[in-house]
Every structure is written in C-alpha cells, then in structure tokens.
C-alpha cells in the first residue's frame, strides 16, 4: 500500500464521522454546532439544556440523531454487503439486491402496508420475506455445477417473481395505501423513530460488523474454488455466512428505509479505485465511504427544499449513476 493510499484511507475513515456531526446542524431549523453539542450531552448532563430553545432538543435528539444513525448504518451496511457479495461472486455487477433480498423485502412490506396494516409491522414482514427470497435462491442454486452463475441467475428470477407479486399487491391496493407504498419503495430515512430503529439498527450494526470481521476471508473466497479449498477453507459454510450477513443487513435497511439503490454498487467500486482490490481494506473503507455518502445524500434530500422532502432513494440513484459512469469512462476498467 502506498503512502498516498494510506492517507486517503484514513481520510475516508474520518469522513463519515465529520459529516455526521456537521449534518446534525443541517436542516429546516438552523441549529449552531454549539447547541447541537449541548443537546447531545444533555441526557448525561441535564444542565446543558439551559438556554437551549424548546424545540432544539426534540429536533436534535428526536429527529436528526436517529435519522443520521440510520443513514450511517444503512450506508455502511449496504456498501459492505455489496462489496462482500461482489467478492464472493467475483462479479462487479453484483450488489445486495441481486439475491432477491430487496424484492422480497419490498413485497413483504407491501403486504403489511396494504393488507395486514397494523396487525403485522412492515419491518417484520419485510425481513421475513427477504429471508424467504434468499432461502429460495440458495436452495435452488446450491446444487448447480456452477454455483455462482446459478446464484446470480436464480437471484434475478426470484427478484422478478417478487417484483411481480409486488405489482399484484399494488394493483389491489387502496388509493390511500398506494401512496404510502410508493413513498416507502422510493427510499426514505425520515420516517422511523427510535421505536422502529431499536430493532433495525442493532441488526444492521451486527451484520455490518460481521462482514467487516470476515474481510480477510473474502480474499480467499474471491479466489477460484480450487485455490480456496487448497487453503483449507470450508467454502460452502463461509459463503453461506457472508450471504446470511448481507441478507440481515439489507433486509434490516429495507424494512425501515425502503429501497435505496446503487449504494452497494457504486461505493465498493470507488473504494477499489482508491485503495486497490484487497478486501481487508475494501470492506471497512466501503463501510466508511458508504456511511458518509448516504448521510450526504440525505442532507440533500431533507435540505434542498425548505418545505418538502424528496425521497433519498432518488438522490442516491441520481447522484450515483452519472458519477459512476464518469469514473468508468475515466478508469476504463472494472476493478475487482
């Protein structure tokens, strides 16, 4: 690793934390960083509340903090999932949605929003159907002679199947439920409060941490199967663990924030361009860059217009795709 790469790596690691803190002061209501600092410390030091405007505590602790934590962990989790699955499949176009996770989660959430309503929370339903989709993909693809190709093809098929089921639910949805469903599917970080996040954030954190801990194994998994076996790796078990962790992260994100596309594809590519292809660096740096990227995209989503909010999923696609095309044209190669 060159000195330049090392410095760049540390900057990338610092990036989401700096953006996180600055973003706490960004929003409809202008809150100076000093007040943000006091509000953050006020649960531990109640004296800090003195002099703060009445709504600042509610905005910083009740609105911005959970939203930014969600953006941080969702961005990190989606990027790490994408990087891990790309390494696993040795395919640069694979991302966390290719295994049908997103379609399964979207269908599950739509069932909850449109049909079951209050009786079955969308978070739980999304998670269950994401797991169902991945189990189907794994069950069908594992007996193939070419497991990776089979995994990808089965993922596309299962994804299409759940997309069709989603369309069916949309077809029968009431006009009220349809509006909610449309916005949920566009991706939005602003809806869940602490209650919903108390389940989802630990799942995202656990899955992301698990994938980061497995980063060195991904170098082995990205070799040919023969080479990996020669190194004594239990391929089936290791790949299954990676897929399960990626499913855990993606379904936890999708269940509370809807479908946020392109993060898991673009961020790992950017990291590989900067830091090379060693997954020991790619995976943690993807986490850091993905966290910062989604926080910035969400800052735009909530700050671009004072009186309305554009779903962040639109921004991640609108920003990410042209940027990605530019980078591909410039680099003229696929990094993996």
């Amino acid at each position: 690793m060159t000195r330049k790469q090392r410095v760049l790596g540390w900057l990338v690691i610092l990036f989401p934390f700096v953006v996180f803190f600055i973003s706490l002061s960004v929003g409809v209501v202008r809150i100076p960083l000093g007040d943000v600092f006091k509000a953050l410390l006020s649960p531990v030091f109640p004296a800090m509340k003195e002099g703060l405007p009445e709504n600042v505590l509610g905005i910083v602790l009740g609105v911005r903090l959970p939203r930014l934590l969600l953006a941080f962990l969702a961005g990190a989790g989606l990027s790490v999932s994408g990087a891990s699955l790309q390494a696993l499949s040795r395919n640069p176009l694979v991302n966390e949605y290719i295994l049908g996770i997103s379609s399964g989660a979207a269908f599950g959430a739509s069932l909850s929003i449109v049909i079951f309503r209050q009786s079955f929370p969308p978070q739980v339903s999304a998670f269950l159907f994401a797991v169902v989709a991945v189990v189907i993909v794994l069950a069908i693809s594992r007996k193939s002679d070419s497991p990776i190709v089979s995994l990808l093809l089965t993922g596309i098929i299962v994804s299409a199947f759940f997309s069709a089921l989603l369309s069916l639910v949309e077809f029968f949805a009431s006009p009220y439920a349809l509006q909610g469903l449309f916005y949920w599917l566009m991706g939005n970080l602003g809806w869940p409060g602490w209650g919903a996040l108390s389940i989802s954030l630990p799942l995202m954190a656990a899955g992301t941490a698990g994938l980061i801990l497995m980063r060195w194994r991904m170098n082995v998994l990205s070799m040919s199967d023969e080479e990996a076996r020669a190194l004594g790796v239990n391929l089936g078990r290791e790949k299954l663990i990676v897929v399960i962790l990626a499913t855990l992260v993606t379904s936890a994100v999708t269940s509370v924030a809807g479908i946020i596309g392109w993060v898991g594809l673009i961020v790992p590519h950017l990291v590989r361009m900067m830091a090379g292809v060693d997954n020991r660096r790619v995976v943690p740096l993807s986490a850091a860059l993905g966290a910062g990227y989604l926080i910035l995209a969400d800052d735009l989503a909530r700050g671009l217009a004072a009186s309305f909010e554009i779903p962040v999923g639109i921004f991640t696609s609108l920003i990410g795709i042209p940027f990605f095309i530019l980078l591909l044209r410039k680099s003229k190669r696929i990094w993996l």
Partner: protein
C-alpha cells in the same frame, strides 16, 4: 443489474405518483347545454365533462353505472340510487358509510378493479344508459365509450369543493332531478356561506396554523384542503410545492412539522380504526412533538371530510366542525352529533348519521377535548 431495475421502478413509481397527484386537481369545470339528440330516438343533452369532452347523453336515464365514487354518492343524494346498476371497486371496498347511506348497495355488482381497470363485459351486460367515470385518465374514458357504445361522462370536483354544487346540478340535469339538485346545492352553499360570514372579519394573522397528516403517513400532507380554508384555518403546506406541478399533496420531514409549530394537527381518519397507521394518540404521545402548540393544547383531531373524493355532506359537516374547533367562541352552539344527523338526513335521508359514522370509523374522538 437489479439496480437498473431498481432505478426504473423508482422512476416508474415517481411518474405514477405524479400522475395520481396531478390528476387530482387537473380537470376543468364541467358545463351543460341543451342540444338536439345524438343518442337514441329521445331528445338528449350535450354535456361537456371534466376532460373537456362533449358527450351526448340520453334524455331518459334509467340505468346508471358509476365508476366514480363522488358521483355515486351524488346519484344517491339525488334520489336516483334505485337506478344504479353497478358501482366501482373503490366504493364497495373503501366507502365504509355507503352501506348506511344506501342500504341496497349489496345488490350492486362491482364493475371495476383498482387503478381504473374496468370489466367491460360486466359493464355491457348491465346495459346502462350512462356511465359516470373518473376524469383521471382520458384514454380509459374514451376506450370505455368506444368499446361499449355507451355514453361515458367523466366528472369529479378533484379537490375543488366550489365545483361540487355545479357538479351536482349537472348530474341532476342528466338524471332529470333538477329540483332536488337545486335544493341540495342551496343547502350546501348556504351552510358554507354561513361559516364564511361568521369568519369574514378574522384577520389573517389570527388564523390557526394547521398541519394535516394524511394518507396514512405522518409526513404526507395535502397542499389544498378547502374545509380548512373555509373554516378560517391556514394550511401550512399550502405553498409547499409549485402550483404548476399540479400535486395534491407533498411530503415534508418531521423537522419541518416541528419548525412550523402548528396550532392544530388534523389526522386523516377515513380508515377503519384497525387500519390507521397514524393516530391522534400516537401524535399526542410522540416525544418529538411534545413542544408543539397543537400537542400542548391537545388540538390534534381526526378529519373525515376527504375520502379519495369529496362528498358534499362530509365537506359541509367537516367545515362546520373545523370552524367550531378553530373558533369556539364564534360557534358556541355547534353540536357535532346534531349537525351530523341533520346533514346526513338532508342528503341521504339517513337517520342517526352520527351514531353510524362513529360506529363505522370509531370517530367518537371527534368530540374529545
């Protein structure tokens, strides 16, 4: 690969949503003129509908199919419910009061599914003289008329309650019930006029600032809501998006709601209690909103006026209710239960309207302080 699909799905949904929202307010006012007959041997009316189409309708309408919930209710209010030959999916599934307003509704076959998907074979088999349709999409309306050879009139006030009285008169004329239409239009306009009169001297700076949580979402809000405006309230989201976009509503963030610090929060209540994803109790108990004036004064209430269409009786009732909520000192004698009964009796001949509304939607919260 999935991301390309994801992008397409996102764009497709954005377009569909824009269409749904845009169609809500996009239509023009209907008009009517007597003209020589074009359909059948009897003299006909020539009607200009909300899509700007000129439609010749038969003079004697005996069988009606309504694919537009707003018009179905008007037909019943005009006393022509017995002439309904079929209703639409939305009415059957989502109008929780229709069974009280028109007890024979169970006999009516449903001729459409969600998203304006009409079963043409069922439609033709019912042999209607006229079809009332939603002006949401011109191609669908014209396709139905072309394929069935039955006149299709696309009507709906699309958010503009000022058009409701004209729409009622037009439907009354098509159904040869002009006197009943005039009577109801006068009752409706008179009721709204009395509210306006009592509030005409309220200075703009004293109007309560209102946020509305609609469509089952805390952050989705209508940018136009006539009952609030007529009742002397200020819809905080009124100018949230440019008029040229034609949107019915917009999405704000929670922080925006806190920054607005509304005096009153209205929650869309036209859901069965079990289906409500946003509730008055939920907002009152949400720590993020503890500092809001509306929460401190407990002026967080359900609203029932807007379904996915406007109903004249509910618009009038809600306008009076909101006026009394915003300005209790100017409407000291307002009695929600009594007015609910009176208005539903006038429009639908319904006795005990308030008790039935309360039972259907669990809306006794209306009377909470």
């Amino acid at each position: 690969m999935r991301s390309f699909a994801s992008l397409w799905m996102t764009l497709r949904r954005a377009l569909v949503l824009a269409f749904i929202s845009g169609a809500f307010f996009a239509a023009t006012a209907p008009s009517v003129a007597s003209s020589p007959a074009q359909a059948g041997p009897s003299p006909a009316l020539t009607v200009k509908d909300d899509l700007g189409r000129t439609v010749a309708v038969p003079a004697a309408v005996k069988r009606i199919v309504s694919l537009q919930a707003e018009i179905t209710r008007l037909v019943v209010a005009l006393g022509a419910g017995g002439e309904l030959a079929g209703i639409d999916y939305t009415m059957r599934r989502h109008d929780h009061l229709f069974k009280y307003i028109y007890p024979d509704e169970a006999r009516l076959p449903v001729v459409s599914m969600a998203e304006n998907n009409v079963n043409l074979e069922t439609l033709v088999s019912l042999k209607p003289d006229i079809i009332f349709a939603s002006p949401f999409e011109k191609q669908i309306v014209e396709a139905i008329q072309r394929k069935t050879k039955i006149p299709v009139v696309a009507l709906a006030s699309l958010g503009d309650t000022a058009k409701l009285a004209d729409e009622l008169k037009l439907v009354g004329r098509i159904l040869a019930r002009e006197r009943r239409a005039e009577e109801l239009a006068a009752y409706f306009s008179g009721g709204l006029g009395r509210v306006r009169d009592r509030l005409k001297d309220v200075p703009a700076g004293r109007k309560p600032r209102v946020y509305m949580s609609f469509w089952g979402s805390l952050t989705r809000t209508p940018i136009r809501y006539d009952p609030v405006a007529i009742a002397g309230g200020l819809n905080l989201a009124e100018k949230a998006v440019p008029d040229v976009l034609g949107s019915a509503g917009t999405t704000v963030n929670v922080e925006r709601i806190i920054a607005w610090n509304p005096d009153v929060i209205l929650v869309h209540g036209n859901y069965l209690p079990a289906e409500r994803t946003v509730t008055v109790e939920g907002i009152l108990g949400d720590s993020r909103f503890a500092s809001l004036k509306a929460v401190k004064s407990r002026k967080v209430r359900y609203t029932f006026g807007f379904w996915n269409w406007w109903d004249m009786a509910e618009v009038l009732l809600e306008t009076e209710y909101l006026a009394a909520l915003f300005y209790p000192e100017r409407f000291p004698a307002f009695d929600l239960g009594r007015r609910c009964d009176e208005i539903h009796k006038m429009f639908y001949g319904l006795d005990g309207g308030f008790a039935k509304l309360s039972a259907a939607l669990g809306c006794d919260e209306w009377t909470h302080d």
